[in-house]
């Protein structure tokens, strides 16, 4: 058991130091680690999806829901893409993924993503004059951003000014996005360094 506890501490530490060493030098250990992560990640995905498939498809099929044989057959069709002469059979598998994605997206996009945004942006009048001012600012920013995506007319004159303003406002958002992205990276590194520090120091 002591050996297992040693493994639990030192294998992650060695792997993490190898990962962090990349910031100083691109070396054999880092390349090995990259390949290790890809392989193990693929293995984890296969194992967890097998469990989901078994729970949702195979177990009910064994339990009597014979209709589930159809999606399993369609799913097996996907693997024909590796056989050049019968690659067209894979289309019968892919169509379910694509049709499901397209159909399910259209089902909720209007009520979920388009109309609520338009309604929220149209709420200009507020209980106080400050709220009304903010509502007006929001509406103007919303409209100018939309005009940026009009590609059927050249961005000249009023449209051009509006599109440029929209682009500037979107740049604000992208700047915030970059800032928050690197904060995510910082948090991930911090959590690992914290774990490693506490393990090494025995805290």
């Amino acid at each position: 058991m002591a050996f297992v506890e040693l493994m639990e501490s030192w294998i992650p530490i060695i792997l993490m130091i190898t990962a962090i060493s990349f910031i100083f030098y691109d070396w054999v250990g880092w390349r090995w680690l990259e390949h290790w992560i890809i392989g193990t990640g693929a293995g984890v995905i296969v194992a967890t999806n097998w469990r989901a498939l078994y729970r949702t498809g195979i177990n009910p099929l064994i339990g009597g829901d014979m209709l589930l044989i159809l999606p399993i057959i369609f799913g097996i069709c996907l693997y024909f893409r590796f056989i050049p002469e019968y690659r067209w059979v894979a289309r019968y598998g892919f169509l379910w993924v694509i049709a499901g994605g397209a159909g399910v997206t259209i089902g909720g996009i209007m009520q979920g993503q388009i109309l609520p945004q338009i309604i929220q942006s149209a709420k200009i009048i507020g209980p106080t004059s400050w709220d009304t001012f903010n509502g007006l600012v929001s509406a103007i920013i919303f409209l100018t951003t939309l005009t940026y995506f009009i590609f059927t007319k050249p961005h000249k004159g009023v449209l051009g000014t509006s599109a440029r303003a929209g682009r500037l406002f979107m740049m604000v958002g992208f700047g915030l996005g970059f800032s928050t992205l690197i904060q995510t990276y910082f948090a991930v590194i911090l959590e690992r360094v914290q774990w490693m520090t506490f393990k090494i120091l025995g805290i």
Binding site: T56, G112, Q120, Q183, A187, L190, V193, Q194
Partner: protein
């Protein structure tokens, strides 16, 4: 031609600091606050307060679907928020009924790791199957979630522990998204936010609350406050939520201190870089 003295101004020296030195200082900014106790007070932002108030304002016995996209990449940013929100749901005075699902295949494993790393305050009166239920990973992203919204039993014939769906007392009157009162999502993936808004809010009108990792916050900002009345952003949001719940002195606070110094270093470096760049450009142009 410039003289050698002009090439040796403070701005040239700043620009010639090696990257490794910056990174070593960065590592120190991470490690030192973890070891040196300090109390850095912080305020609670309006979205975090709104998140907290929304949960506490739910009627007694409301059903909350708590979806967690915990993966190794976002663990550092999302795990603290996951634990904090779970504690809030379990201990809220309105006796919420909580359903756990995972849109990422690693989710159930990372949830177990999170439960070991962060303290989960499970009240004694809560009984599994009657007050809270843990389902597992649902495959298929939006298609899987849409199926979950339409008929939960179809996608989860059994829970994570292989208890049949019909044997769970809590699920006797919860069959679809029409029976949910709130959806909470912890995620670092934009697509999950979008498809949950489309399916849960768009088709069933289920109110949503999001706890995005920092990199995903711009994806949920457009939905605030009309779809998502509040949000908890990453590690700092978790610390704020803990403070609202009266939880202090935890690992989250320690990490929050380090996080402060890390972002402070990044801010100072960026300002120095901008000023140095301007001064060097100004010198070259004159």
């Amino acid at each position: 031609m410039t003289s050698s003295s002009e090439e040796n101004t403070i701005w040239d020296k700043l620009m010639s600091i090696p990257d490794n030195a910056i990174q070593v200082v960065f590592l120190l900014c991470m490690i030192v606050p973890l070891l040196v106790p300090m109390t850095i007070p912080y305020g609670v932002t309006p979205p975090t307060k709104a998140f907290y108030d929304t949960i506490n304002a739910l009627p007694e016995g409301s059903v909350v679907l708590y979806s967690m996209q915990l993966i190794p990449f976002n663990y550092g940013d999302c795990a603290a928020a996951t634990a904090s929100i779970f504690n809030l749901l379990l201990n809220a005075p309105n006796n919420l009924r909580v359903i756990l699902v995972f849109p990422a295949s690693d989710g159930p494993l990372m949830f177990d790791i999170m439960s070991a790393d962060y303290e989960i305050l499970m009240p004694e009166w809560r009984k599994y199957g009657e007050d809270w239920v843990r389902f597992g990973y649902y495959a298929g992203m939006e298609q899987g979630f849409a199926t979950l919204c339409d008929d939960m039993k179809t996608i989860f014939p059994s829970d994570y522990f292989d208890n049949p769906f019909d044997d769970l007392p809590m699920m006797s009157d919860i069959k679809s998204a029409a029976d949910w009162d709130l959806l909470i999502e912890v995620t670092s993936y934009t697509a999950i936010v979008d498809y949950e808004v489309r399916q849960a809010y768009g088709r069933y009108g289920v109110p949503c609350l999001f706890a995005p990792a920092g990199m995903t916050v711009m994806s949920i900002i457009p939905y605030y406050p009309h779809i998502s009345k509040g949000f908890v952003m990453g590690l700092s949001g978790a610390a704020q939520l803990n403070s609202l719940q009266g939880i202090s002195g935890t690992l989250v606070d320690l990490m929050g201190n380090s996080f402060s110094f890390m972002t402070l270093e990044a801010f100072i470096l960026a300002i120095l870089g901008i000023v140095s760049g301007y001064m060097l450009r100004h010198r070259r142009s004159t």
